[in-house]
Symmetry: C2
Subunit: 425 residues, 2 copies
């Protein structure tokens, strides 16, 4: 048996960051920037007004106050998106809207509230105002956003390796970019194996069960930003398995479930040995001890031969989800170019006991709650690895280290959070 | 001015949970179950083996041990997906694979490791084994998964209102469901207003800026599970705005940015007054003081008249993102049927000072780090609401309450986390 860390290291050493692709900025959410982004533009492009008001020379406001207005001649109005041809000189004001470029000669903007705008407009009856009273002193630069204040032309705005979130989408748009070059989303081919499996939506013959692993794994693949490709179900025969596998050999990764333990009908490992190279078989963890990793001979999207990483998850529904989180998620993240593939983890007070007979690292489905500033973790109930509903009840996996024979109520353990249920925090 | 809470309450009182829809289970991720889910099946359907081994009667194992094998006659082999016609009686064993139904008469399963399977198979040279030595005692039920252990027929498996995650997708598949009835994803129509705006990918004339708000807002809409519909840019004229708005009137919500402050060219509020009802205008928060909410006369997807909620965000890029998080996100979540729309929030030690001159709730872009078990928050730098790059640098919004004139370095403040950057936790 090898440790979780050794297994993960072996797996990741066989997984590469994928090639770049160009996508629409809105579709890049969650992907990783492939290149540094430099700006071709200043944002804002010109000095502009942060308020609706009057662009003036600050020297014209000296001595202005609520009861001592400084009267200025209004020669123009400028709105956002327009440029005033007028020049502001001593005694002159230009009426200016938020976002409009500051006219030549002006060095400050007095907002409407600090002028007699409102009373003058009432008196004028909607006619253009030709004179305005300034009611406060204003220093140079007041209410002016400087050209390039947010983004200056030629500077690096986003670094390669940045994960794109809504703010980055906005920043790319502000640079005028409609497309962005990112690391591709991995296509993950997913195959369940077992004569006992029936596809969802079909009648269920006696002794058979529905194929749930393909769906829980595909949902995890999608959740972490990759693209699932469903290969369906393969029977426990080499022919069926090879036929199914070959349909996935232009994917970026292949994930199978089932067929990796020691039973007679576990053909995945035999096929792997023929079609590629076998990695490891048993990991010092529970659930998930029988686990396969290797590479299979395939080809890329243009038909060029290459080796495709293959991860063989256990067939038990819980085991396959837990081993996905521990192994497949980091592999998917590495392919996507992400640098960090840790899961949020908290230290929690255990409320139930957990026995660890096999000297393995035990991942136990738990419900984590925060009470009075501390985290508490209780088990979801029966921990059989067929009990998928327990994964639905859990929001975390409480971890008992390999060298603990048991964890008792009151012990502090690490819990890998499956979901940040918002009320937990 | 009204408080953030009053504004949110008014908004949510005008927003309804959307209608149900049926979708493929894999596409339901992040949606909310519309109905309780009851099971038509037992999972597992029959008592079955948790191990590869031999199905026997436990009474036949009494006295068995490593040096005192109990010899049983092997009459059949059963694999997962098959049903053995054989009956296990005293002195009889059936070889059984993991997941295979336990044959009639057997009440326990002895795994291969606790039999002399390996040495017998070596001796037999691949021939069928007709006798097996049991090397340990086994109680009734050992290594047997009971029918209905995970899911029992007729019981409620998932409750209406459950948010669908990968585990729920797996549970639905294990019930044989290919489709599920969920609350619809809201379609959110998005419109930016302003003569100064230019669409991304186009040349940028002097004095103009790129439309970034549509993209940052659309990315937020998508991130929270709804469907953005881009209406583009409307000029600051009533005609242009009305024309654009009408293209979005069969959406579930309309979000505009810009046009809500007091300037001459702010026509959104005038149009709203004509086309529907106006909600509020100013909220006691910074950024985001100018904010509009109302309803507009539109029609549903079948053309039936109805009122569509309209949220008018400020035009500043940062303000529009912050007000989206505070107001639009809860509205989207309510439409999706989610019960909880709080964001993860931590208490952090402030490392910079924040002045609060206006008696408003200040949301300040911050970088949160965890050091020695405590959270620390420093500001991203200039807090002008045009500085969108600061949203890209931030992972949280530090909150200064309305009744604080300032927050000083060392003060403890709440920080609404924008992203759980995994390393923060």
């Amino acid at each position: 048996m090898i440790s979780v860390e050794e297994a993960l290291e072996k797996l990741l050493s066989n997984v590469d960051v994928l090639a770049k692709e160009e996508v629409a900025i809105l579709d890049s959410l969650g992907q990783v920037l492939a290149d540094d982004i430099y700006s071709d533009v200043d944002v804002p492009p010109l000095d502009n007004s942060a308020m609706d008001g009057y662009a003036v020379q600050s020297s014209d406001t000296l001595g202005a106050g609520p009861h001592s207005p400084r009267l200025l001649h209004v020669i123009d109005t400028v709105a956002a998106g327009s440029i005033s041809e007028s020049e502001v000189t001593a005694g002159i004001a230009v009426r200016i809207m938020t976002g409009a470029p500051v006219p030549k000669g002006a060095d400050t903007v007095i907002r409407f509230e600090d002028t007699d705008e409102v009373s003058r407009r009432e008196i004028s009856g909607g006619q253009t105002i030709t004179e305005i009273g300034i009611l406060c002193e204003a220093e140079v630069g007041l209410n002016i956003r400087r050209a390039g204040e947010d983004i200056s032309r030629g500077s690096r705005i986003l670094a390669a390796g940045t994960v794109i979130r809504p703010a980055e989408v906005g920043v790319l748009a502000s640079l005028g970019r409609s497309q962005v070059t990112v690391i591709s989303r991995p296509v993950v081919a997913i195959l369940s194996t077992g004569d006992e499996l029936v596809e969802v939506g079909q009648p269920l013959p006696a002794g058979k069960i529905y194929n749930s692993n393909s769906y829980s794994v595909a949902a995890l693949v999608r959740r972490y930003g990759a693209v699932p490709r469903m290969l369906g179900i393969a029977l426990d025969s080499e022919d069926s398995l090879v036929t199914a596998l070959r349909r996935g050999l232009d994917a970026d990764m292949l994930i199978t479930s089932g067929g990796v333990s020691v039973g007679d009908y576990d053909v995945v490992k035999d096929v792997l040995a023929k079609e590629g190279e076998i990695g490891f078989w048993t990991v010092r963890m529970k659930p998930g001890k029988p686990l396969a990793f290797g590479t299979i001979r395939g080809s890329d999207r243009r038909g060029v031969p290459r080796r495709i990483p293959h991860l063989g998850l256990p067939g038990n529904p819980v085991s396959s989800m837990v081993t996905f989180e521990v192994f497949a998620r980091p592999a998917v993240f590495k392919m996507m170019g992400k640098k960090d593939w840790t899961k949020p983890t908290v230290e929690a007070v255990l409320e139930d006991g957990i026995v660890n007979t096999g000297g393995r690292r035990v991942f136990t489905r738990a419900v984590v709650e925060k009470r009075e500033g501390r985290y508490f973790a209780r088990l979801t109930g029966p921990q059989g690895s067929g009990v998928l509903t327990s994964m639905s009840q859990a929001n975390g996996l409480a971890i008992v280290p390999e060298d603990w024979a048991e964890a008792r109520p009151g012990d502090i353990v690490k819990v890998m959070m499956l979901d940040w249920n918002e009320e937990v925090i």
